[in-house]
């Protein structure tokens, strides 16, 4: 039982948890900055970046692609600023224009270049394939201490762990300027916080989390985790730090509970097939948000 769990269930659960937390952490700030959909949009915007990275390196490997994706996210943010200034239109509209254009550009690039051997299928993009991220070299809990077995951990796990650590580090290190500039941009400027740069960095870090998670677990978790845990946490507290901690906790709960329910829920109900873990994780996070909206102590209009 132990060995089976460590080989088959532990890696996907860990990857799911890391992906969920990596997205939920910056999601707090994006949500408060009214940029929550950036997480979703990023998965579109980064396509040309990924394709260009592929064309340049000629291989499907994650780090160059993530760099390409981060680059594309930066280009997108710059373009949004330009469209907003030059066209004098509201940010939402500017984002819409830039995102669709860049996605279309990515599709064109993909069609024009010889990338037929890379297949991007919709199913995979949406749900990833969490269940397939297994660790065949594990023979039990002791494998966690066995360097040889550890060398064969699914690469997605290592990658997701590195990205989650970077995201957490970014937020911890720049906590105060991030919080101040999210709350009161004008004030942040007057005390010399590089507001624009920080906003860019947040988008890039979010893009990194989104792309890593997108690659490991599919976009549906990315979108759900950017929004649901932070939004639910906001309904439970009036303090930013507490909100961020709660959101991380809710992200973990969603990931673990979602995975377990997907694997065993249908069996308990008498069906013989498991359902998609990614879909179930997203569903659980949505249910948590629903619960918070109904019962959260800091709902709007609720005195506190």
């Amino acid at each position: 039982m132990g060995s089976e769990f460590v080989a088959l269930s532990l890696p996907p659960i860990l990857i799911g948890c890391l992906a969920a937390v990596a997205c939920a952490l910056p999601g707090n700030f994006l949500l408060l900055r009214r940029q929550a959909l950036i997480g979703d949009a990023i998965s579109h915007v980064v396509l040309p970046g990924i394709v260009v990275a592929f064309l340049l390196t000629g291989m499907v490997s994650t780090w160059p692609m993530m760099l390409g994706a981060a680059g594309a996210a930066l280009v997108a943010v710059a373009l949004i600023q330009i469209v907003q200034r030059v066209g004098r239109i509201e940010p939402g509209a500017a984002m819409g224009v830039v995102f669709t254009t860049m996605f279309a550009g990515g599709v064109l690039l993909l069609e024009q270049s010889d990338t037929s051997n890379v297949h991007l299928d919709v199913q995979h993009a949406l749900y990833g394939n969490l269940e397939s991220l297994i660790w065949l070299d594990a023979t039990g809990w002791h494998s966690l201490l066995d360097p040889e077995a550890l060398a064969w951990l699914p690469p997605e796990l290592t990658r997701m762990a590195v990205v989650a650590a970077l995201v957490a580090l970014f937020i911890a290190a720049l906590w105060r300027p991030l919080a101040i500039s999210t709350f009161d941009e004008g004030f942040a400027r007057t005390i010399g916080i590089p507001v624009t740069l920080l906003g860019l960095a947040l988008v890039v870090v979010s893009a990194m989390a989104a792309v890593a998670a997108f690659d490991a677990v599919g976009s549906i978790i990315v979108i759900a985790m950017f929004i649901c845990p932070p939004a639910a946490a906001r309904l439970m507290t009036d303090r930013l730090a507490t909100q961020v901690w709660i959101s991380a906790g809710l992200a973990l709960v969603s990931a673990v509970l979602g995975y377990v329910l997907a694997g065993y829920g249908p069996l308990w109900l008498g069906a013989d097939d498991a359902v998609s873990a990614a879909g179930m994780i997203a569903t659980v996070s949505g249910l948590i948000l629903g619960g918070a909206a109904l019962f959260g102590p800091k709902r709007r209009g609720q005195s506190g």
Binding site: A173, P177, F187, I191, D238
Partner: protein
Amino acid sequence: MTQAAAMMSPLPSEQASAAVPLPLKVRGMTVSYGATPAVFSADMDIAPGAMTAIIGPNGAGKSTLLKATLGIIPRLSGQVEVFGQPLDRVRARIAYVPQRASVDWDFPTRALDVVEMGLYRQLGLLGRLTRQHRSLARDCLDRVGMADFAGRQIGQLSGGQQQRVFLARALAQGADLYMLDEPFAGVDAATEKAIIDVLKSLKDEGRTILAVHHDLSTVPDYFDNVFIINRSPVAAGPVATAFTETALQSAYGGRLATGLLDQLFPSAGPAPMPQPFPTLDA
């Protein structure tokens, strides 16, 4: 006031700027949102250790002048010197309270958290908030009479209370130059009294205060100097010499109620301000 007068009269002011730099010196400031400039070719000298009111009708460019001075909005032209240095070098010495904080009132932050934001410069990027910092922030809330609301989410305060929290944040900054955009807007008489007391105590500590102010009747009571603007400066200097009927008529374009002007500048009888109306020296 005589001391301030000496400081604001043209010649000594030039000398003073050579010795001790002025808290704020603006030259040739022009700011535009569209085709016509909102502030045109404004020069402004702010005397140290005094309270200066910026006065002018709605849309005169008062807020614009402050924001452009602080680099919150871009300017077309003009130089700004703060304590004799470029703005970026002395940001830690300035505190600014906007006319109406354009913040997200639903933000998960409490009154005390907002005040603690004022300590950012003191803490640096990685510094931790200690118990001393916390109690300093509490003192600041206390000074504006908001100690009882420390734990209240910012959106659940009344407008006047919110205004006071932002003033407390400015106090926490421990600045030498305070720039306040209408600190008395929408506050009750008791709160106005509390705020003016805080500002006067700041002044007594030698700090400089620059506040946009609409209530002309309290100008002589509250302020040492005035800076009257309507797109371009109309008059500037000590209340005694620059706060004149002529200057106000010129800034407000004759739209001021005569009752108010009579009260401010009674032509006969026991006058609160005994000076005759000096003509504009500018």
